[in-house]
Structures are given as C-alpha cells and as structure tokens.
C-alpha cells in the first residue's frame, strides 16, 4: 500500500540536542550537572556574559558533533567557525548566540525511518553546534505575565541543532523520526535523553503546498505529535474557510494543546550574523578519521546483524535495537538461552510489561529474565507463571525463585498429572458419559477434579489437553 498523503502535509523538524554527557559547557568550565541545583549556581563570567569574558571551545564537544554528523550519514565540513547570531532576549546574556552559520560542522545526511508505507528516507539538511540560552520562567502566563525569572544554569550548554528537510508526511512520521534520532544519539552516548530539556523540537508545517508555519516550544515527543496534529487541522480548517496561510511563528501551548500566533514586534529579526572574533576557525577535517574509529555499531546495522546472527524476525530485531540498552540486554541474555525464545521474552513480553509501567530496561536484571526463561524451557513453570514472575518483580521486587516458592508456581510432576487424570476419569463416569455424548461443559467439571487432586499445581490448559486426549481413547 502506498501512502498518498491526501492533504499534502510537509513537516520538517529542527531538533536541539543538549550534549549533557559532556562534563562542561561549550565555552566554559562550568559543570553540565545543574539539573537538581539552585538557580544560577552553575555559571561563571563566560556563560553569564560578564563584560570582558571570552569563550574557549570544549574540544570534546567538537568530537561529539563530528560523531553525530557521521552517525546521521552527513559529510563533515573541512573547516568551520562560530558566528554571532545577534538578537535581544533576556535568556541570552551576551545579546547574541554563538552558533554556526555558513559552514555547519555537518550537512547533507539522511536517516531511515518506518514511514506510513514502509521504509522512508528523511534527509538531514545540516547539523550545527551552538550554545543553549538560559531558562526563563514567566510569572503567570507569557501574555499577561507580571515578570520573568531568569536562571542561567543552562546558558552555554553545548547543543547540536539537527535540521531536517520537510520530508515527513504525518505527525506519526515526525514521531518516528524523533524516536529514530533519539535512538541514534543514545547509541552514540552523547546525551542523556531522560534529563529535562535534553531534546527540544521546533517544527515547520505546511499543507496543500502552502506557506510553512513554524511551531516553537515543543518539549516532548508526545507534544510534537499533538502540536503537529493541531497545527495541521488548524491550517486545513483555515483554508477550508477561505483563508490563506502566511509564514509565521507560532507558540505551542502544551497545557492547552494549541498553537498560538506570536506575531509581535519582537519577532522581527535581522540576525546580523558575523564570525565570532573571539574564537579562531576550526579545521575539523583532520579529526574525522580518529572519530570514525570511535563510532559504535548503529541501530540499523545492529538490527541487520541480529536478524542474521540470531535468526530472529525483522520485527523482533527492530524492537530489540531501538534502544541501545535493550540491545545490550538482549545480547547478554542470548549468551545463555536460545536467541529466538529470548527475542519473544525480551521484545514482546518484557518490553510490553516495561512500557505499560513506563519503565526502562534498567528496571530488570539479566539474570532474572534468564532464570525465568530457563524454567519455562525446562517446563518447570508455565509461561503464564513466567509472566506473573516478571510482573511481580516489576511491581514488588524480589528474585524469581522466591516468588515461585512463595506463590507455589512450580509445575507438578508429569506422572502426578497423568495419575490425577486417570483417577478423575475413573471416579466420574457420569461426567465422562455426558462429555462423550457431546456435553462440552462436562469437561470443565473433570478438569476441576484434576486440579483438586493436584492441589492446583497442574497447568489447567495442560490438564484439559490430556483429558481430551485420554477421552478419545
């Protein structure tokens, strides 16, 4: 099936990724570990923009940027530099943002996502380095606020801004793109996506080949999907009522789930970009070979390998490789148990239970899932008991063996079940006759007797199957 994109939706995303796995900010030695600290406790003359302070580039930030560029299949520029983007805003302590302009460190890349109708290539226009502004908090809402509080702890954090072409055709594709991007960045170990503000999204949206509208202030992936759904609907309704869409910037109000026009005098921009005189050019080309050596196996490659090496289905391989932690978890598991069985238990069962509880794979131990699987394979517990053990571990903690003992989940011996089946048939001739005469319900009665005799430790399904088998004789 080919997706025909009836409204001609085009979505491009600009994603700001905070390189919070660096120890320090982009241009100063302030620690990046500010998330649980007092406001304005992680600032220095440089990131506070004090008169006379000067920036110096964090070398590791440049390595991270090259690494990201390579992972997004970009070409890395020979030489680059930082520019000043001049505009006034209270979160910008120098009155300009230090960013890259005509020579972004990386450009012309692409990533592949699971689109509306199969694999889809999303082109990456550019990825450039820049500094994060501080954080503003409006007293009241932004329009009728009594004032603004400013915390510069975030000011100067290293960001990579990844700009895509408008290649996404639906909010779902946008969401998939973001998931894929996050997956790749996780693999690269350049950021911790769980920290607040680690990934922030601005979106460009157009419908019916109209002008594009920029939607800002999207702070989560879920938010991105909602904002896009709203904005597409708004544009379509507007056109349906005879209006035309003009280029503008809108603000996403997360609480209300709507986008609001931001057209004010403050929005008129002429950024007057020019090269930052306080920094010298960066010759990055020579560094690429070293960085290539540090590139890990990326999600797509890992998926292919899993399919080949472990002979597992495409769907399982994909589910297991989206998150690097899950992939590593799986590979630890398969060193001990059959890969195909492991794929089912990790990708379907365990991930399902984790997602349901909004937990990550860190919440479960490799040895515990191995124990569960080994017991199921050995037929010592039922699959259902296995699931129950996983749920119990997640909800209440504990080791599988203790849970089995406490709940008496160990399956009874085969011959005991067989004996109970024979006794039940012998002791309940009426029910047997009814069943043979076509009264299906009588079977339940006999199963109940088997369960009674085994004190419930038999697997009900198994008992039923054995009875049916036996009664055929």
């Amino acid at each position: 099936m080919v997706y025909d994109n009836p409204d001609d939706v085009k979505i491009g995303l600009e994603v700001h990724v905070q390189l919070n796995k660096l120890k320090t900010k982009l241009f100063c030695g302030c620690s990046t570990d500010y998330h649980n600290s007092d406001p304005n406790s992680h600032v220095c003359p440089v990131c506070l923009g004090l008169p006379g302070s000067l920036p110096v580039i964090n070398e590791r930030a440049v390595e991270f940027a090259i690494k990201i560029g390579l992972a997004l299949n970009c070409s890395i520029v020979e030489q680059t530099q930082f520019h000043r983007k001049n505009y006034y805003y209270p979160d910008l302590p120098k009155g300009f943002q230090t960013t890259q302009y005509d020579y972004p460190i990386a450009g012309n890349g692409k990533i592949v996502i699971e689109g509306e109708d199969g694999e889809r290539v999303i082109r990456i226009t550019r990825a450039h380095m820049e500094e994060d502004p501080g954080r503003l908090q409006h007293i009241g809402n932004i329009e009728r606020s009594k004032g603004t509080l400013i915390n510069y702890n975030r000011s100067g954090m290293a960001l990579i801004e990844i700009v895509s072409e408008p290649d996404m055709r639906s909010p779902k594709e946008a969401r998939r793109y973001l998931d894929k991007l996050r997956s790749i960045l996780d693999y690269l170990d350049v950021f911790n996506g769980d920290l607040e503000g680690a990934m922030r999204v601005d979106a460009n949206v157009s419908v019916f080949n109209g002008q594009r509208v920029e939607v800002k202030n999207i702070s989560s992936f879920k938010g991105a999907e909602r904002a896009l759904l709203y904005e597409i609907m708004r544009q379509k309704n507007h056109i349906r009522r005879g209006g035309t869409i003009t280029m503008e910037t809108r603000h996403f109000d997360e609480a209300r789930g709507v986008t609001l026009s931001m057209r004010t005098k403050e929005e008129e921009h002429d950024y007057r970009y020019f090269p930052e005189p306080d920094l010298v050019p960066l010759r990055v080309a020579d560094r690429v070979p070293e960085v290539i050596k540090t590139l890990p196996e990326l999600p797509d490659a890992k998926k292919e390998r899993f399919m080949k090496e472990y002979n597992i289905a495409d769907m399982h391989a994909r589910a297991l490789t989206i998150e690097i932690k899950v992939a590593n978890f799986y590979e630890e598991v398969v060193s001990k148990v059959d890969p195909k069985v492991a794929a089912v238990w990790v990708a379907d069962i365990l991930k399902g239970e984790l997602n349901y509880r909004d937990l990550t794979i860190d919440a479960f131990r490799v040895e515990d899932i191995v124990d569960v699987m080994e017991l199921v394979i050995a037929n010592s517990i039922t699959e259902q008991s296995g699931v129950e053990i996983i749920r119990t571990v997640l909800d209440h903690g504990g080791k599988p063996q203790d849970i089995i003992n406490k709940k008496g989940l160990l399956k009874v011996e085969d011959n005991i079940v067989a004996k109970a089946v024979e006794e039940a048939i012998a002791q309940n001739p009426e029910a047997v006759a009814d069943y043979r005469a076509g009264k299906e319900k009588s079977l339940n009665f006999i199963v109940g007797k088997v369960m009674q005799k085994t004190k419930g430790r038999a697997d009900a399904r198994e008992a039923r199957e054995r009875l049916i088998e036996k009664l055929k004789e």
Binding site: P45, L48, G49, L50, P51, G52, S53, L54, P55, V56, I57, R84, N86, Y88, P90, P93, K94, G95, F96, T148, I150, K265, E266, D270, R272, F274, P277, D278, L279, V280
Partner: protein
C-alpha cells in the same frame, strides 16, 4: 611630585623606606590632582603595599604602583568603561593582566578615565567628565586611554595600563608626552578587557620611559588559555633594549607625512629620523598605498563589532537599568539613557553595517580592505626593520574643539588605525614639543617583533632629552 618616577627609582625608594610609603605618597599626589585622570581609587591599595612589605614580596614589580584603565576588569573595583550604563558594576573577577600584575607584586592604585567604551580620541566622552592634559588643562589628553596617559605624565602613577583599539594607547601617550605601546594582536590576553572592537584591540602599557614599558610587558604579556586569540610566544624584552641600532633600516611611509600634518610635527619627526641616522641607522621612503582607505575600513569594522559586543548591556544582570513596560522596552530605554551620544552613533552605524542588505557593502568590504592594508605592511616591512612617522598628525587639540563633529575626530586617527587593522606592534615615544605640547614618534614593527621597536625607542630615548621634561604644574 615624587622624585622617583620610574620603576628602578621606586624599587630603590622601597628598599630605603617601604612600599607602603611609596603608595601613600602617590595617594597623596592623586589627592591634589586637578586633571580628573582617576575615576576610582582602590581603598585596598595601601593594605596591599603593607602586605608586600610584611611578606618581603620579591616579584619583579613588588610595591610598584600602577593605574589601570576603566575598561580592564578588576575584582572588587568598579569597572565602568566610563559609561553610565555600567554604573555600579563591580566585576567578580580579575582580568588576566591584573592577575599577572598582582602576582608580580604591583599595587593597583585605582582606575583611570577614558572615552566611553574606548570610543574616542580625547577622553571627553566619559560619563565622569573629561580628563585634562597636564601640559595644558585647556587641551585634551588624547584618548581613549586619556586617564592612563595623563596620570603618568602628571606623576600620579609611574606606570599604567591602557587599551589600544585604533590608537588609544599611542594617541594619549603622544599628547601627554609619555611612552605607550600597542603590542601585536595576541601578545597580551584580552581576558577581562571589556570589548569594544575585539578583532583590533590589545591592552598596552604606558610609562615615562621605555625600560618601564619592557618591565611591564615581561609581566603581562604571554599566553593565556582563556583567550583563544592569545598566542604562545616568549616574552623577554628588557635584555634586548641595550642592543644598538646600527644598521637598522627605517621605512618612512610617505602617507603618514602627507596632508593634514602639522608642519612642526613633521619637522620633529624628521629630526628624530636624523637622530637615528646619527646612531647608525638608515632610512628610506616607503609607501602604504591603502592608508587613505584604512580609516573608513577601521571604523566600519570597529563599529560592527561594537554593536554586537555592547549588546549585553541591557539592564538585566548588572549596571544601569531603566523602567519599561516589558523587557524589550526596558532594554531600549536602558540603552538610550545609559549610553552617550557617540556610543549610540557607533552602535547604530555598526548595526546598520551588519544588517541584511548592507553587510556586503560595508562590513565585508571593510574586511577586504583590511586585507589590503595588512598586505601594505607586509610588503613595506619585508624591506625595512621598522616604520617611523608621527603618532598623531597634530599636538593635542583643545577641549570641545572636535566633540560635535565625529568625522573630524575620526580623521585624527589616520596614522594609528592602520596598525590595528594589520595587528602589528607599535610604540609611541616623546620626540619633542610643538607649541609647548608634546609630540610622539610612532615606531612600528612586524608581528611579535616588539623587541626591535622597543630597542629603537630605547636608543632614541637614551640619546634625547624629550622624555625627561615634565609638565609645568608637576615639574
């Protein structure tokens, strides 16, 4: 006026009495000043001097008092760039040069007056009012480091630091009869120097003699990892001074002795060159053909950079703050009221020169002309060791004479700004008097060859008497 005016004299005096006594004596002299050279005196100075005595500090500048320009950050001492917009701003950190000076045992006396944000040639645009020229209080001391030059000339400090973006150390040195050095771009860390035009400016020392300039340079020059444009070069200067100038080839740029130059100034420059000839040097005429375009290129670049550098003064984090219904209105009122007229003109022109549609015509064009000016110097200095000419085309002008007319003020920088465009080092030394006002000889060299220009200046000084004259009030 103290009898000891140079560093060696001060060191002798400290050995005979104490650093405390020397500092106290300077504080006393400053107290009687009529020239408005200092903006702030540091109330800790005397305690620092006392500590130096108590600890027998043996740094190269132990107990030597020094005055610091108002745009160099000093921890705990108000640093305002002589602007209302930085009213009350006290830096929480020291500039790199201040750290070095403190380590070397220097005693910071206080901060010196300047043209607001270093934008000027006369120190008249200061929020603290003009500094007067010690040789004639009706005249300007030059600028923008007017305070730093005037206090040295008036004996209120033996040495000082200024900053030179387009002549701001050399011009006041020439107008006040002191020595002033603009080092090679990258020679001294700018960390802590409040930027006006960051691709052009350098901190530079002022003193009554060349040996003291060398002594300060040995302390403040050198690599600083906090300034990405700071270059790692050895910084010994004192030893080179004593070498002679026999065989030195001097280039005299014809453009520096052409129109607009005062005849008496021109004669003093030729007299000086003949002095060098007597010492065994030779001269030839050279040409820096793009000099006539350097001024426009310089001002476009400086204003463009300034428009961005000064954007941070928005009333939010430090300094003066006006009222406004919203942040943007508050910021534009703060800046309208906090900046003086010339600063606002330069910000507006710089903003215009960088703006969409004009950037190529002004900013980019100026940077290309900068390349041509730089090449002029490379070509000329390939054949000669140093270039010599007048620092300023005239002696100090009268207070108020040029203030309303920005263009005529800009024109007086014609000999100094090309040097900042090229980034080469240049020193101004006293070379005589015209109408009883001092005149400066500008000696310019190649990148990081401060030694050669300092050696030339030192030899000249040792064979002339100009630098020994003191202003009438002080003498």
């Amino acid at each position: 006026m103290a009898a000891w005016t140079d560093i060696s004299g001060i060191r002798q005096k400290i050995a005979d009495s104490s650093a405390e006594e020397v500092t106290a004596s300077y504080i006393d002299i400053i107290g009687k000043s009529k020239i408005n050279g200092f903006t702030t005196l540091w109330d800790e100075a005397i305690n620092v001097a006392r500590d130096i005595d108590a600890n027998s500090h043996d740094g190269p500048l132990a107990g030597v008092p020094i005055a610091i320009k108002e745009n160099i950050s000093t921890k705990g001492i108000s640093t305002t760039c002589s602007s209302k917009i930085l009213q009350g701003y006290v830096p929480p950190y020291d500039a790199h040069v201040i750290e070095r000076l403190k380590e070397a045992g220097a005693v910071i006396l206080g901060k010196t007056n300047m043209d607001e944000f270093a934008m000027g040639t006369s120190t008249e645009s200061s929020y603290y009012g003009p500094t007067l020229n010690p040789w004639d209080p009706s005249r300007v001391p030059g600028g923008s480091s007017g305070g730093s030059a005037a206090v040295v000339a008036a004996g209120e400090a033996p040495v000082s630091l200024g900053s030179d973006t387009g002549g701001s150390v050399r011009c006041p040195a020439a107008f006040c009869g002191t020595v002033g050095l603009k080092p090679t771009y990258g020679c001294i860390s700018r960390y802590g120097l409040i930027s006006y035009a960051n691709s052009l400016e350098q901190i530079g020392p002022l003193a009554t003699n060349v040996a003291d300039i060398a002594a300060i340079m040995e302390v403040v020059a050198g690599h600083d990892p906090r300034d990405s444009t700071s270059i790692n070069k050895e910084n010994t200067y004192i030893d080179a001074l004593a070498e002679g100038v026999e065989g030195m080839r001097i280039g005299v740029p014809e453009e520096y002795l052409s129109h607009g130059i005062d005849e008496k100034v021109e004669k003093l420059v030729w007299d000086s060159i003949h002095t060098f000839e007597d010492l065994g040097a030779s001269y030839e005429n050279v040409s820096l053909p793009h000099t006539r375009y350097a001024l426009a290129a310089y001002y476009i670049i400086a204003m463009s950079e300034a428009s961005s550098n000064l954007a941070r003064f928005d009333g939010t984090r430090y300094g003066f703050c006006a009222e406004g219904d919203n942040w943007h209105l508050m910021a534009s009122k703060t800046r309208a009221e906090g900046f003086g007229a010339e600063v606002k003109r330069r910000i507006l022109l710089g903003t215009y020169a960088l703006s969409a549609g004009y950037q190529d015509k002004y900013y980019l064009k100026a940077l290309k002309v900068r390349t041509l000016v730089k090449q002029d110097f490379e070509r000329a200095l390939a054949n000669v060791d140093v270039l010599m000419g007048p620092t300023m085309p005239t002696p100090a002008f009268r207070i108020g004479e040029k203030i309303g007319d920005p263009l005529s003020l800009y024109m007086s920088d014609v000999n100094t700004v090309p040097i900042n465009l090229a980034g080469v080092p240049s020193i101004s030394v006293p070379c005589g008097f015209a109408d009883n006002m001092p005149v400066g000889l500008q000696i310019t060299g190649t990148h990081f060859d401060e030694k050669t220009i300092m050696k030339a200046a030192y030899n000249f000084e040792q064979n002339t008497e100009h630098h020994k004259k003191r202003p009438p009030e002080v003498a």
